[in-house]
Symmetry: C2
Subunit: 625 residues, 2 copies
């Protein structure tokens, strides 16, 4: 899995020139975001929220028709400055080509660009303080703990029993020159000497399929190493339901599943530390973003009530959790903390909370639609005023399961299918011999067939003779295996193989995709209705997760998976869950923002809606045009 920070996968419309460096960004973003998405630092202490007035930029004088000043610009600048082109980058919308001068950085706070172009001011929970303490005497019998805490008065940390056990010896052996390690409000360690230069955290995206770990230098915000691997729970089944079922059948399964998830995290932690040249003891905090089932399982919480109506979580918020509680006892500092992202509902989990944080859904004025496509598809609609969330049961089609020639997006998977009446071309992951079709290839293939008219709006293949007329170059690909009609995407071997040996798309595969996309479309349709809006009101669609990164925006629109809006407004947001986890480690403020989301989001349950089935059937056909 690649961490996608670049939302310019479909860069169009606006050409910007930052200090002479050209970048292309979607129309409608702020110059602040446009700069930070492209790694250009602009002064800011508020992170682009219009409060610090430090993100000064100048529209170069020969730009024709410079952006109009906003009311904040008028307060921040003199009339002469405004005439001279000075603007606040976070308030200036890129709607046309413009050249911009960015002054050299002057402000001290360090920031990092994380998430979907989020500029995060570094304020990690992990803090270090080098202390040179006065030695005790008969005239100064303050306890060792008091001696340390007096120097940390502004942080007011609690102490831990484990720190006290060795504190006396540490102070005396280190000659009272020590470094205090405070995580949030807890003094978790006192280390000999000055270790203030070394503090790290690990952000985990704990997926049902894939788990990603990013080792972060908390002093700079820089990712030091990234590793991913399959979740070791895989043998228990591909999706969360099979894993929950396992715990219901076998009393030992919960322990086993917990252990496997924990081993996955520990192995990744050891790998990123080894690659990054970081000692396990230098990792003082981890963040874990996962769906509700993964989170329950890794913490050893009985997931059974998640698995059946009315789909109840044991908890939305988690109490104080240690890294040891998620199996990292030996892999990071023994008293390292863990931030576990809370869930909105049984099927809108902590991964979505993290994703919303990373994509700034709660801070953007525009109405945006966030869609994380998978077996369970999470959908969030809203802006900074309101947010609605739901989960749609899309089924495993996008994971390649239940599709005859389907496979996960791994080497050998057809990820892009391009069709004209005259020819068909494939793009295969790893440039290998095609082995099967992954979700994005499936969507592309169906889209192409619909566009060429080989599939009708109801999703049925047209008669073979009509197909030959419409797309002469694809003749022979539309055929049958037994009774079932199939479309061959790739014949194996030098000779055209028999259809059953080829990589093909079957009529039933098309139906699977229709069911999946209808479920998702029903989800966002209902959210739009709840909000009193229509598809046209959606200003941006964020496709989250690895599948979203591979999916062609045009195809997604063409088959009705997302609302019909201009293609450039459909943006692959990448691994937003992992990005949210990174943000939580880098900034206590962002972490609090993630928690606050729980109050801001209203969860809409689909499974008890009387109208769900009717709407689902309505969404099955492919949109016309």
């Amino acid at each position: 899995m690649t961490v996608t920070e670049d939302v310019g996968a479909q860069p169009v419309r606006v050409n910007l020139l930052f200090n002479g460096r050209p970048v292309r960004v979607p129309s409608g973003v702020t110059l602040f975001d446009a700069a930070s998405w492209n790694g250009i630092a602009i002064d800011s202490t508020c992170g682009g929220h219009g409060t610090c007035k430090k993100c000064r930029i100048r529209i170069v004088p020969n730009s024709d028709d410079p952006p109009a000043p906003t009311s904040l610009d008028i307060r921040a600048y003199t009339a002469a400055e405004i005439k001279d082109g000075w603007r606040l980058a976070c308030r200036t919308i890129a709607t046309r080509d413009v050249a911009v001068e960015v002054p050299p950085l002057t402000t001290r706070p360090k920031a990092a660009t994380v998430g979907v172009g989020r500029q995060v001011i570094l304020r990690p929970a992990v803090q270090k303080r080098y202390l040179e303490l006065a030695e005790p005497s008969l005239a100064d019998q303050a306890s060792d703990a008091e001696r340390v805490l007096a120097q940390l008065e502004d942080l007011e940390p609690r102490t831990e029993l484990a720190v006290l056990k060795t504190l006396g010896r540490t102070l005396r052996e280190a000659d009272y020159k020590v470094t205090a390690v405070v995580v949030d409000d807890v003094l978790i360690a006192v280390e000999p000497g000055d270790t203030t230069g070394r503090r790290f955290g690990i952000a985990f995206d704990l997926g049902t399929t894939t788990v990603v770990a990013t080792l972060l230098d908390l002093s700079t915000g820089t990712p030091v190493a990234v590793e991913s691997m399959l979740n070791k729970q895989q043998p228990f089944g591909a999706d969360v339901i099979t894993r929950i079922s396992a715990t219901m059948m076998d009393p030992g399964a919960l322990d086993k599943l917990q252990q496997l998830a924990q081993e996955t995290l520990a192995e990744l932690a050891r790998a990123v530390c080894a690659h990054g040249g970081v000692q396990p003891d230098e990792v003082y905090e981890v963040a874990v973003a996962g769906n509700a089932t993964m989170t329950h399982l890794v913490l050893g919480i009985d997931p059974e009530p998640l698995g059946m109506a009315p789909f109840i979580m044991s908890t939305r918020l988690f109490p104080e959790v240690l890294a040891a509680d998620v199996g990292l006892a030996g892999a990071v500092h023994p008293r390292s903390r863990a931030v576990v992202f809370p869930a909105f509902g049984a099927y809108v989990g902590g991964d979505i909370t993290a994703g919303l944080l990373a994509s700034g859904m709660d801070r953007d004025a525009r109405v945006r639609l966030f869609v994380d496509i998978g077996t369970n598809c999470e959908i969030v609609l809203g802006n900074r005023e309101w947010l609605l969330a739901t989960a749609a049961p899309a089924g495993p089609a996008f994971e390649g399961a239940a599709i005859k020639c389907g496979m996960r997006a791994a080497d050998g998977a057809i990820e892009v299918v391009t069709m004209t009446p005259g020819e068909l071309s494939l793009k295969v992951i790893g440039d290998a011999e095609p082995q099967g079709l992954c979700g994005s290839g499936l969507v592309d293939a169906v889209t192409g067939l619909v566009r060429l008219g080989l599939l009708d709006a109801s999703g049925r293949f047209i008669p073979e003779e009509e197909a030959a007329a419409r797309a002469p170059g694809l003749a022979g690909r539309l055929t049958r295996i037994g009774q079932e009609r199939v479309f061959v995407l790739h014949w194996r071997g030098p000779e055209k193989s028999a259809p059953e040996d080829s990589i093909y798309l079957s009529q039933r595969d098309v139906r699977e995709l229709q069911f999946a996309k209808a479920a998702i479309a029903t989800g966002w349709q209902i959210l739009l209705e709840e909000a009193g809006l229509t598809a046209a009101d959606v200003k941006q669609v964020l496709l989250a997760g690895s599948f979203g990164s591979y999916l062609s925006a045009a195809s997604a629109i063409r088959i009705g998976l997302v609302p019909k809006i201009p293609v450039p407004r459909v943006v692959a947001a990448g691994n937003v869950a992992g990005e949210g986890a990174k943000m939580a480690l880098l900034s206590l403020r962002e972490r609090a923002g993630g928690l606050a989301l729980l109050e801001e989001v209203r969860y809409v349950e689909l499974s008890d809606r009387a109208d769900f089935n009717d709407r689902f059937v309505e969404q099955l056909p492919f949109p016309g045009g």
Copy 2:
């Protein structure tokens, strides 16, 4: 060790009649205290602090000269009521004989008499709440934790990961009828069904020598079972210094000492539960009062800095501690909390904090002297306005060590020695054949010899021929073993044994006692000077601990161990450390009071005082008269 709750061992001065029941109490106590010390319940929600105005009593009309109304009485009652004899019991001081009517109880709060006659309103940290929860539905998808917490809104507890692990199953198996167990601010358990009738705690007095456990019913405040045993650390040495030294010599000793202390607590916990018919899972909180070394060791905190100047504790206050942290994992509820009493200094430990709480040192208007006699003697002087504390190195004489025929206060120990010129009589613990002399017997013997003039004021035995003249009935007892002069207390066997085979007091033993009592007297003398007071200002001396219970007040005064004040004002306070631990379990308010003591007590270090040695020498002789 006996838990002494009765301070009326020397009841004098005032005769009271509560609803016809006569009691005798020291002059100067309030009628509220006088009643509660004698087990007579009076309505109160504030526990006798003049705030609730519920402790209504009536001085019976034919009492002559009834106590004058206080300003609070005037606010609480009409003039007619006051004329009729109505008073607030907590404000009315018993200075003369009086008869009192106590109305039947009307208020709900339960109270218990604990400590040195302290009436404690029950408000334990352990609370139980029976909940009948609404079953979740698609229309009500609140998480299991939210469902429980909504019913505990007034308590605002945190949850624990361990509770969440099984919460889903518990709720469903118990049909959503459960009992929440909240300790202070933490939800530690959710139990199926209604278990509100069962909640227990264990108060530990963790002594260097003896450990006492009291199982308390937290619903009623009643002790259910009491057990004591020797601290299993004994093989490492009798006093704290030898145990600290062990950890300095042997890197494995700290672990071993921790384990032994923990095993002691666990064995006692199992014993009191077995005797009380209580399941370990029904014990949700424990309290531990011990000196600084014992507390450090049982928690596994390196005690080395306690053992040498400048005598530094790792910490005065303890962080959140679980019963499991003191070795009670299997012996009480697995998530049971532990209250560990904080220490004022390396040698004025948590046992003294508990003792001061139990004796109400910080709430009494009278200047009182608290003395806990042992190898290390803790001394506290003060009243509700100010408190001074110190520790005096008394040495092991009172423990029977360093005394030729000394022994601990166990079966066979001579605990009382009564002497006249004509005869000598002994009281032996367990009514057994005398085996040796314990601390109280030692003090009695020396006192008797001083009073009869057989020891002169400097502590030297007078010539044998003079002795025979002064105390003819004791002739032959004052003799020699080799060069050393000895006084035989008990000849073994039917024939008078040789002096070396008898139980005797040697000249060197007398010196040991002089050193010990001089160290203690120097301690309280210095505190008196710091306070600008003299011995005559001390209104009460509280002798804490088991030794204090055995010691004769008259003897203690006679040899100058305590200030020269009227004998009835020297009170054996009993096992006040254990009583303080009980109070902490029964009342969060009292527990907070114990913590507040840390701020109220000023610690006076003796070992760096230039004048200590001179003063010590001054205190060596026995007082005249």
